[in-house]
């Protein structure tokens, strides 16, 4: 199944990535090669095989709902590209 330019553009938007036309052309070829290779999985009949959701059979690891220490605000903001008082500054959304 060959991937089209408009499909690539749609995936890029979903992944919050943008590409220039020459990058799209390179990706198009590489992705088609890779997806072509991956297509060999179609050879196998897996209709009666359960998908592996986890490497090992463990059930949920819960803990008690108790408040524990977490990162202080200053530390949380220490890598902020842009900050103001106790918050991260971001472009206006609404």
């Amino acid at each position: 199944m060959k991937i089209t330019v408009s499909q690539i553009e749609h995936m890029a938007h979903l992944a919050r990535l943008s590409f220039n036309p020459s990058e799209i052309e390179d990706f198009s070829k590489q992705l088609n090669d890779i997806l072509g290779y991956i297509g060999k999985l179609e050879e196998l009949d897996t209709s009666r095989v359960a998908p592996a959701t986890h490497a090992l059979e463990f059930t949920n690891a819960f803990r008690r709902d108790e408040v524990k220490p977490s990162l202080p605000v200053e530390k949380t903001l220490s890598n902020a590209p842009e900050r103001e008082r106790r918050g991260f500054v971001v472009p206006k959304i609404i």
């Binding site: 990535l17 590409f19 992705l31 890779i34 897996t46 359960a50 206006k92």
Partner: protein, 487 residues
């Protein structure tokens, strides 16, 4: 006095314990060595000289008082730059985290600190652990100490190269599809990926959460066991961490394989395997036989589908894990954006390298509506079949022996233009991650052009003991390396 950098961790530990040398002397020797050799190898992204000397002084205090001393006290180690180190830049070899300083330590770092180990610095890797050559580092490639024109392997290329170049006594890497075992093989050192869940992933920057594991890279099998002791164990902060006691792995370093059966998978010895690699691996298998192991042929029939399944599952998980890099709370943020969407797209497009973007795109595609069943679900079913293959094979043997990589280290730039070619070279290591079982790469020879070749030993879940015993016996049979490369 023997050159300090030539000693293994267990040899250093003996001398430190007897106070014949000090931790500060050892760290100084390594810092000098880094200054001398790393400009050619470029394994390090960050060298933490001042902090290392302070840690060494603390270690000397412990050693003097003979209090809180462990085999790693005062031992200088390198850490792959995918592991969060509090107060020390952690970049994942990516521009998007170029100046990121974690405000916390990964669990493995807390454990090493508690053991009194010294951190020399952070080691180069393929960006976000995506790659098999370290050529995908956003900063610079690392060179193989055995031949500077060749790759050290990847993604833990810096971790393996630094051990081989003796610019650290041992290191930590991470392995998602072979990223510890393959560079260890290419650099002629020991590298182990533990059972999934044995080592906490808290503080390991996530690539593919169901596959990632941190593991040791070392000069010999004894050092590997010592590092494994220090980093393994349950962690409540990693919900995939397995509960249970960690044995003392050094207890399994015993001669003799009398009751061992070694499985040789027929699907792994196929055309495309370099004849010198095959010869070295078979030679190692004979060596294990001479130590008492019985040989049996086993079959792993779904091997040929493993790479395809992995290159759906890993990118899918990566596309989800890497969605957090959005320029909002940490990391690089682009300038000149018009609105939020523009900020996201510019930040991520400028911050990520081409391989990372390629994998995010593959992952996004295989998870998107209409394709999920054909790709991700299918790959997950293949994963079940591969896990079942190993389970059946282990009914007939204790440990499986296999090559690590189809060829010795290739030249820098040789495969960079063809991503699919690069992916296919992971054929022997990937199935182990898909099944979540442990694997170790042990040096077993050199090619005719002097490049290291490793053999991979694989065992069932939680059977690190069997791996270490087999690996130890291989080392006894073939001899520990004395001839390190002079880069």
């Amino acid at each position: 006095m023997q050159n300090l950098i030539d000693l293994s961790i267990h040899e250093l530990c003996g001398l430190l314990g007897k106070r014949e040398i000090s931790a500060v002397e050892v760290t100084r020797a390594y810092l000098d060595r880094i200054g001398e050799v790393d400009p050619k190898i470029r394994a390090y992204l960050t060298v933490t000289a001042d902090q290392a000397l302070m840690q060494a002084e603390e270690a000397d205090k412990r050693l003097k008082k003979a209090c809180d001393v462990t085999p790693l006290t005062g031992i200088p180690l390198g850490i792959k730059d995918v592991i969060c180190t509090k107060g020390v830049k952690t970049t994942c070899a990516s521009k998007i985290l170029e100046n990121f300083v974690p405000p916390y330590n990964a669990t493995v770092m807390e454990r090493l600190e508690a053991h009194g180990a010294v951190m020399l610095g952070k080691l180069n890797m393929d960006e976000f652990a995506m790659g098999s050559s370290t050529e995908n580092s956003a900063f610079h490639p690392t060179r193989n100490p055995w031949d500077l024109e060749r790759i050290p392997g990847g993604s833990s290329g810096g971790s393996a190269a630094s051990v081989a170049a003796r610019t650290c006594a041992g290191s930590l890497g991470s392995d998602t599809g072979g990223s510890i075992r393959q560079p260890a093989s290419h650099c002629g050192v020991v590298g182990m990926k533990p059972t999934y869940g044995m080592v906490s992933r808290f503080g390991l920057v996530a690539f593919a959460s169901s596959l990632d594991q941190i593991g040791p890279i070392s000069r010999d099998v004894t050092d590997c066991a010592l590092l494994l002791n220090a980093i393994s164990g349950h962690d409540t902060r990693d919900s995939t961490s397995v509960p249970g006691e960690v044995p003392d792995y050094t207890g399994f370093l015993m001669p003799g394989l009398k009751d061992y059966t070694l499985g040789i998978p027929r699907e792994y010895f196929i055309s495309g395997l370099d004849p010198e690699v095959e010869r070295a691996v078979r030679h190692a298998v004979s060596a294990l036989e001479s130590h008492g192991a019985r040989l049996v042929e086993v079959s792993l029939p779904h091997t040929e589908y493993a790479v395809a399944a992995y290159y759906i599952i890993a990118p899918a998980e990566a596309s989800s894990n890497l969605s957090r890099y959005d320029g909002v709370k940490y990391g690089f943020r682009a300038s000149g954006y018009k609105n939020l969407m523009d900020m996201y797209k510019k930040t991520r497009s400028q911050g990520f390298g081409p391989e990372v973007k390629r994998r995010i795109m593959i992952g996004t595609y295989s998870l998107s509506a209409g394709y999920y069943d054909a790709y991700y679900r299918k790959a997950s079913q293949i994963r079940t079949l591969i896990t079942q293959d190993f389970k059946k094979a282990f009914e007939q043997c204790d440990v499986i022996a296999a090559p690590v990589a189809p060829t010795p280290a290739f030249r820098l730039g040789e495969k960079a233009g063809d991503p699919l070619q690069m992916y296919l070279s992971d054929i022997f290591t990937i199935p182990v991650n898909l099944a979540g079982i442990p694997g170790i790469s042990v040096p077993c020879g050199l090619s005719s052009s002097g490049l290291p070749i490793g053999i991979q030993l694989i065992a069932e879940h939680f059977e690190e003991a069997k791996l270490l015993t087999a690996a130890y016996n291989l080392e006894l049979a073939l001899g520990r390396r004395e001839d390190w490369p002079i880069p």
